[in-house]
């Protein structure tokens, strides 16, 4: 080990040493941006609002959220579909995301696990003619269990691996045809961005799928929980709702759609808080009434998760005291030699480019490893910091990256590096 260290460039050692802020036994990545944590803490314990240390925007946000809670407490029940103001916030987020396509808070239901409720509405588990749901292969296990639990017939359609796990309508057609022999297919489940595949549907593909659903009378369940995690230069996330809205009056006013999003995967990655929502498009109003009843029998979604959703949908803006915490990361990198980083526009990962010396590249080659992979291993050993190498995600030949999470201690360590470099 020691011998390998001595073969690194001086720069690399310095970076590694300076990146060594103690992280304890943090072996899962998690988001920790002060703003969110401060708002949540103040909501739990409003005495903190009298604290001078909390920024003004934190206090204001916490106060405005507490005002929406009965008795000013996050311990109270809320409306079954979520706090009205937060649903408004989410609908505005959706409208912004979709470039102006209107979204009504009345069609928004806050609930992590709202997919199960849709399944409950759609599936007759006791019918002689079993209800079928089309699902992609591969798909994640707990969704399959959820379908089995409801007594649905599973109709698999295969994603095309050779073409990057794309969805082919012909495959959908084939699957549906087969499915109709043994059950009554009513719904088409899509996961975009895909889990576990990571692929993102092109706009054209989404249109084809919507047209298919319209022709074959299928209810679309669009699982879009990974929508904030989009990497790469040429990829863009299109929501099913947006594409649907731009497809002509017949289709856009008739195809039934339920879209799902959550705080678990995207911007915040706060899975344990269980904040999520479902937006319904073109649902029969009489059925919506029953959907509301199902939600009400489940009391209400956890208030903390609702707050997390509000913070995700309406993060600090330029000018807010808490805003700099986001953008500084990129700026600091810009000042470090040997590392460069594109401006951070979205998501919660940082993907800077490392410019290794020829010596470092040769050294890695000798060990039959990608240079960025080796860098990550050294970093982990030296400092306990866990970052992922760019080679795991795909990058242009001869370029090297690391991916890490915008976490507090990185923020501190970045400044440490910056100070040391000066």
């Amino acid at each position: 080990m020691a011998k390998e260290v001595s073969e690194c460039t001086v720069w690399e050692i310095r970076v590694m040493k300076l990146m060594g802020t103690p992280v304890g036994d943090r072996n899962n990545w998690s988001i920790s941006n002060y703003f969110y944590l401060q708002v949540l803490a103040a909501c739990f314990y409003p005495a903190l609002l009298e604290d001078d240390s909390l920024p003004l925007d934190v206090k204001q946000r916490a106060e405005s959220l507490l005002r929406e809670c009965d008795g000013g407490s996050v311990g109270s029940y809320t409306d079954s579909s979520g706090i009205t103001k937060i649903k408004h916030c989410v609908s505005q987020f959706i409208t912004r995301r979709d470039g102006g396509v209107p979204s009504s808070p009345d069609n928004i239901f806050i609930k992590s696990g709202s997919q199960t409720i849709m399944l409950k509405l759609l599936i007759h588990s006791k019918d002689s003619c079993q209800t079928g749901v089309l699902i992609p292969v591969p798909t994640y296990a707990s969704f399959i269990i959820a379908l089995e639990e409801q007594g649905a017939a599973i109709i698999p359609y295969h994603l095309c691996e050779e073409q990057g796990w794309t969805l082919q309508v012909e495959e959908l057609r084939k699957a549906l045809h087969t499915g109709r022999k043994t059950c009554n297919p009513v719904a088409l489940y899509i996961c975009n961005p895909g889990n576990p595949t990571g692929h993102i549907q092109s706009r054209k593909s989404i249109e084809e799928v919507i047209r298919f659903a319209a022709e074959e009378r299928l209810f679309i369940l669009a699982d879009e929980v990974y929508q904030s995690c989009v990497y790469g230069d040429d990829t863009e996330f299109y929501s099913y709702k947006k594409v649907l809205s731009e497809m002509g009056s017949t289709i856009c006013s008739t195809v039934e759609l339920a879209s799902f999003n959550s705080v678990s995967k995207g911007f915040m990655g706060e899975c344990g808080l269980r904040g999520g929502y479902m937006e319904l498009v073109n649902l029969d109003p009489a059925v919506k009434e029953y959907a509301s009843r199902l939600f009400s029998a489940r009391s209400c979604p956890p208030v903390v998760g609702q707050i997390a959703l509000d913070l995700m949908a309406d993060p600090p803006k330029p000018g807010d005291p808490s805003f700099p915490t986001f953008s500084e990361v990129g700026e600091v990198f810009a000042e470090l030699p040997g590392i460069s980083c594109q401006p951070l526009k979205a998501g919660f990962f940082v993907f800077p480019c490392l410019h290794f010396s020829l010596k470092a590249i040769k050294w890695a080659k000798k060990r039959q490893m990608e240079p960025d992979m080796l860098y990550c291993l050294r970093l982990l050993e030296e400092t306990g910091l866990h970052v992922r190498p760019g080679c795991e995600y795909g990058q242009r030949k001869d370029s090297h990256h690391i991916r890490f999470v915008k976490a507090d201690d990185f923020h501190i360590s970045l400044f440490k590096i910056k100070d040391a470099m000066e």
Partner: protein, 526 residues
């Protein structure tokens, strides 16, 4: 036997269920080829919706949760109208329909909220305004969480150290009877646990369909879930004349009748009771256990109000404790699931959705299925789990926060006891209202005598007579209660459920307004 139901009067679109497979498919083929023809001509067929009242899962139509039902919707509307300046005979809506303590002004327990803040924003661990015992709890919880963060997913069964703490609490509470953390499942409120167990137990078709015994009156989560799951609801009536007590002979009667048309295998009991507030005697609990053993019933003990016991001579006895004190003949055999939550007692933290269940004597293979079932919803909210931990691991004598904690806890419980007595007293002064003692929980479920004319008018409107009464009450006084029909009651009797949660002063005003209203209503419809 084939029947085809036309949903929309259009030749293309038929919905068919209750048909033989062949017929069902034939129709669909017609639809498909027609729509293909249409699209080939360049026009998409006008489509009826895929999901309509007729195509929807029929079980869902039977789901009714009165606590948040139409009367509450009207109350919310009235609140809006008041905000907009509409003149009403009252200034505010008093929502005495739902067991939400904080909404009615009860303060959260300081210690719990301090630890929650510390868990969420660990930088506060350096803040000397927080007591050491709060910090220690926070550190312990965080260490047990993935990534040292309360924002991470936890295992589906719940955070390890929390389950251990829950097991320790149960052991202490039950005088040393051991509790295995492996039998503890943390849940999203008690409701999640209750529904999960019902799901697990519901099986069969027709005469072999699972029957679930539940008390009448009951908390409508049970009836709603039974309806949703398509299980069979088996009612056993609590004895109103004897303070809502449970008679084994009534259990026997209802079981026997049910065996004619279903397969009864579950017995649900809520103790302390909701909506009735009765606290079961130890003898009664033993009798129920003996009955469940004899008749091979899975016992579900909903004990979320276990700290809410007010009446003299009443005490909470957990089903688990009694079961084990009845000896191995019962304790090794009777299958039991007990439920608790952070929403009630002295905490009132409904919005956190914290809870747990302990399962005893469950078949290991079934338990494996249970573990799989809970994995579908990934995990209960981590903050709820953390809060549950604090409830079972509250400040102990000698710890810095102990005195304040006990002061706050005692204040809440004694205020509730006072309000329970007050409610019973005042309501019993009203001719036409008769109220059993509120021995525990958070509600009173008084019987109301309704004039014949009001009953007829209600029926003409298609409304349950007590709903008619409660709606009038809401419109005239702003008081929102839930009619007894939402909980179940003996035929020909009427009740309402009101919470005892509003602050004492407001409660007095509310009870007096109710008194006035009842007298006026009785006169008006006589």
């Amino acid at each position: 036997m084939c029947s085809i139901h036309t949903v929309i009067p259009h030749p293309l679109f038929c919905c068919c269920y209750e048909t033989l497979n062949g017929k069902c498919l034939a129709l669909r083929t017609n639809i498909t080829s027609f729509s293909k023809a249409m699209s080939e001509n360049g026009a998409l067929p006008l489509r009826g919706k895929v999901l309509t009242l007729d195509t929807m899962n029929a079980n869902v139509k039977k789901v009714d949760y009165a606590v948040r039902g139409p009367i509450v919707q009207r109350a919310v509307q009235i609140e809006k109208e008041l905000k907009e300046g509409v003149k009403k005979p009252f200034e505010e809506v008093i929502k005495a329909n739902i067991g939400d303590a904080h909404a009615m002004g009860q303060r959260p327990i300081t210690f719990f909220r301090q630890v929650m803040a510390l868990c969420t924003y660990p930088q506060l661990l350096d803040d000397n305004k927080f007591p050491e015992d709060a910090k220690n709890r926070a550190r312990r919880i965080l260490q047990s969480c993935g990534g040292n963060s309360i924002g991470a997913y936890t295992t589906s069964q719940g955070i390890d150290c929390v389950r251990h703490d829950v097991a320790n609490y149960i052991q202490r509470r039950d005088g040393g009877i051991p509790s295995d953390p492996d039998n503890i499942y943390l849940t999203t409120g008690a409701s999640d646990g209750i529904v999960t167990i019902l799901k697990l137990l519901t099986t069969g078709e027709g005469r072999t369909r699972t029957g679930v015994m539940i008390s009448i009156p009951q908390y409508p989560l049970y009836s709603a879930s039974i309806a949703e799951l398509g299980a069979v609801q088996i009612n056993y009536y609590l004895n109103e004349e004897k303070c809502w007590s449970l008679d084994i002979s009534e259990l026997q009667r209802s079981l026997q009748a049910a065996r004619e048309h279903c397969n009864p295998c579950v017995l649900c009991i809520i103790n302390p009771g909701n909506p009735t507030g009765q606290v079961q005697s130890r003898q009664c609990i033993e009798d129920v256990i003996r009955f469940a053993a004899k008749e091979n019933l899975f016992l579900m003990a909903d004990e979320v109000y276990q700290d809410n016991v007010y009446a003299e001579g009443c005490a909470f006895h957990s089903f688990k404790k009694v079961l084990f004190e009845m000896g191995p003949e019962y304790s090794s055999k009777v299958e039991l699931a007990s439920f608790h939550s952070t929403s009630k007692c002295y905490m009132g933290e409904c919005g956190f959705r914290g809870g747990y269940m302990e399962v005893m004597n469950m078949d290991p293979e079934v338990k494996a299925q249970l573990t799989k079932l809970v994995s579908v919803r990934l995990c209960p909210p981590a903050p709820g789990q953390a809060l549950m931990d604090l409830v079972v691991n509250s400040p102990q004598p000698g710890e810095p926060s102990y005195q304040t904690f006990m002061k706050e806890r005692t204040a809440v419980l004694s205020a509730l006891a006072e309000k329970a007595k007050l409610t019973e007293e005042i309501l019993n002064t009203v001719p036409g209202i008769s109220c059993n003692p509120v021995q525990g929980a958070m509600y009173s479920f008084p019987r109301i005598t309704l004039p014949e004319r009001s009953i007829n008018e209600a029926k003409a409107k298609g409304q349950a007579p007590d709903m008619f009464y409660c709606m009038k009450l809401l419109e005239e006084t702003g008081i929102c209660l839930v009619p007894g029909s939402g909980f179940g009651q003996r035929e020909g009797t009427y009740h309402f459920r009101m919470t005892i949660l509003p602050p004492t002063d407001k409660l007095k005003i509310m009870l007096n307004k109710l008194k006035e209203f009842h007298q006026k209503f009785t006169q008006q419809y006589s």
